[in-house]
């Protein structure tokens, strides 16, 4: 009896917490967006600057996610399967973007690529625009979304061990064949999960990009920057509408993953 009560109260606390912290704000955004009907929402979303902001966010995400997926897999393989000097440092540094405030990341990039920065001077001399342009925004987004694939793949690689890979080698497979046919299929769910988290992080990135983008409407304004911009210019419906679309994309990605992920994968 006491056990049942403990169980029940645990559930109430967990669900209550989720409602207050997560679902509540989401519901309010949803309600506020459609408070005055569909027309203002449609108007806000079909604004050319808003469309551009979404396109830009998706474009940056489409670069950052593949880059970090490849890097994450390579880094995880290096951490789990190899020994080399500096391995501990690599392992620790992968988590750095999680610990570091994105604003600080933005500031670092600003100092590096600014007119007087280490790299900035060289790019400046060659007439290549990094800051207040796409390159800096991509670099910032790549930086903040580095850890997710590696952090998902490392424990999976450790769990499956390297016996299957050894077996593949004795059967005549090259290192490359072993990776594509044995290693990658074994870690595919970890990779997919990492990709989903990376995507979510890229779509939602605000701080670092805010510092390095210059926030030029219709040029270097991403969806999240657009939310802030709309809010500041008292276009509340616009802010809510863009937020809602971002939230819906995130939810759709998570739902899609839950649906395609087979249930027995975790146990075998």
């Amino acid at each position: 009896m006491a056990e049942a009560i403990t169980k029940l109260s645990l559930r109430v606390v967990a669900l209550g917490y989720l409602v207050v912290v997560l679902l509540g704000p989401l519901a309010i955004v949803f309600w506020r967006t459609f408070e005055h009907g569909l027309d203002p929402v449609w108007n806000a979303l079909s604004d050319p600057d808003t469309i551009h902001a979404f396109k830009l966010t998706i474009f940056i995400t489409a670069i950052a996610v593949p880059v970090n997926t490849v890097f994450g897999i390579v880094a995880a393989l290096a951490i789990v399967r190899r020994t080399f000097p500096g391995k501990g440092v690599l392992n620790a540094f992968i988590d750095l973007p999680l610990a570091l405030s994105p604003v600080v990341v933005g500031l670092c990039l600003f100092l590096l690529y600014g007119a007087h920065g280490w790299f900035g001077r060289w790019f400046d001399a060659h007439d290549i625009q990094i800051l207040f342009a796409l390159p800096a925004m991509v670099i910032a987004t790549v930086f903040v979304s580095i850890p997710f694939v590696a952090r998902e793949v490392v424990p999976t690689l450790q769990e499956i061990g390297d016996e299957q890979e050894q077996a593949a080698r004795t059967l005549g497979a090259s290192g490359w064949q072993t990776f594509w046919r044995i290693t990658l299929p074994s870690i595919r769910w970890a990779v997919i999960y990492g990709v989903v988290l990376t995507t979510a992080r890229c779509l939602g990135e605000y701080g670092a990009v805010a510092v390095v983008s210059g926030r030029l409407q219709g040029q270097t304004e991403t969806a999240t920057l657009r939310v802030q911009e709309s809010w500041e210019s008292f276009d509340l419906v616009g802010a809510y509408a863009i937020s809602l679309v971002l939230a819906l994309i995130a939810i759709a990605v998570l739902v899609a993953m839950t649906v395609i992920r087979p249930k027995e994968e975790r146990t075998t």
């Binding site: 299957q164 050894q166 004795t170 059967l171 005549g172 046919r181 044995i182």
Partner: protein
């Protein structure tokens, strides 16, 4: 098809896993690497396969130096204790893997996979996944997979170690039969001396990284090179300061020269033989095995005091 191990050593930090081992394995033979855990037998097998690199020494396979070759170029088949099944592939996919990476024609692969599955008695299970097989079936799949690319040598690392006793015995018998059919040079690692005696035609006994003795099961049993082999291969008693096999002990009803007094504590019938366990004056255990006829002739009973005399003893310089 032969394997030659020449002065191979391998250290892990301060631990000498394999210490200056030389061993010749004849083409077509079935050899056991026998030793207690930590004796270096698995490490030696992995060095032959190219899964570990020796610190010094050479490995020759079919007379050619393979020391610097990666595993995929050595022409070895390897069977792992815990199967190392490709979990995301079907049984047929597992067996086909070694042929697919060699880019053999599809039709040939399909035919060979069917052949092998039937050889290891897994006909009709090709579409299953490894997780749907029993341990014994998984290990037979592992064998078929290793044999598919027609390796020059087949290496098995404690292949039956993870299986229960009944399946073990079954697979043991089956491996000897398979070796007769396929006739590929085979080396398997085991810590079970009975398994080695039953399956192998040559046994290499290892202890603490060193090779203690190489010989046929009979040679090891009848003429052990040292005390370790005497104790590890077959049973051994210490009677009056010498080592003696249980069936080389004589039980006498009365005192005699060279005989030790002991009391019978347990008698077990083993079909044609009788096993008699005794305690000597100091309480040390002695096991004697005598024929049923001799046992009945002596009319032994539990609690009786008898005299134990070695018929054939061995003294090793230590």
């Amino acid at each position: 098809m032969s394997i030659e191990v020449l002065n191979v050593s391998k250290r892990f930090g301060d631990f000498a896993a394999v210490d200056d081992v030389s061993l010749a394995v004849e083409g077509g033979s079935l050899t056991a690497l026998l030793g207690p855990s930590g004796s270096g037998k698995s490490t030696l097998l992995r060095i032959v396969a190219g899964l570990e690199w020796p610190d010094s020494g050479r490995i020759l396979i079919s007379g050619a130096d393979a020391t610097d070759l990666p595993p995929q170029k050595r022409g070895v088949g390897f069977v792992f204790q815990h199967y190392a099944a490709f979990k995301h592939m079907t049984v047929a996919g597992n067996v086909a893997f070694g042929l697919e990476v060699r880019r053999r024609p599809r039709a040939e692969i399909r035919q060979r996979v069917d052949e092998l599955l039937s050889l290891v008695q897994l006909d009709g299970l090709g579409d299953r996944y490894p997780s749907q097989l029993s341990g014994g079936q998984r290990q037979r799949m592992g064998l078929a997979r290793a044999l598919a690319p027609e390796p020059e040598v087949l290496l098995l690392d404690e292949p039956f170690g993870a299986l229960d006793a009944r399946v073990r015995a079954e697979l043991r018998e089956w491996l000897t039969h398979l070796h007769d059919v396929v006739n590929v040079t085979t080396v398997f690692v085991t810590h079970d001396q009975e398994e080695a005696m039953e399956v192998a035609d040559q046994i290499a006994v290892m202890n603490r990284g060193r090779l203690e003795q190489v010989g046929t099961p009979r040679e090891l049993y009848d003429d052990p090179a040292n005390e370790f082999v005497m104790r590890f291969v077959g049973d051994a008693n210490e009677v009056g300061g010498v080592l003696v096999r249980p069936h080389d002990l004589e039980l006498l009803a009365s005192s005699s020269n060279g005989a030790v007094e002991a009391m019978i504590v347990r008698v077990t019938m083993l079909g044609r033989d009788a096993k008699v366990e005794l305690h000597d004056e100091n309480g040390a255990e002695i096991v004697a095995v005598l024929t049923r006829d001799r046992f009945e002739e002596l009319e032994l009973w539990r609690g009786q005091t008898v005299w134990v005399r070695p018929k054939r003893e061995r003294v090793f310089a230590s």
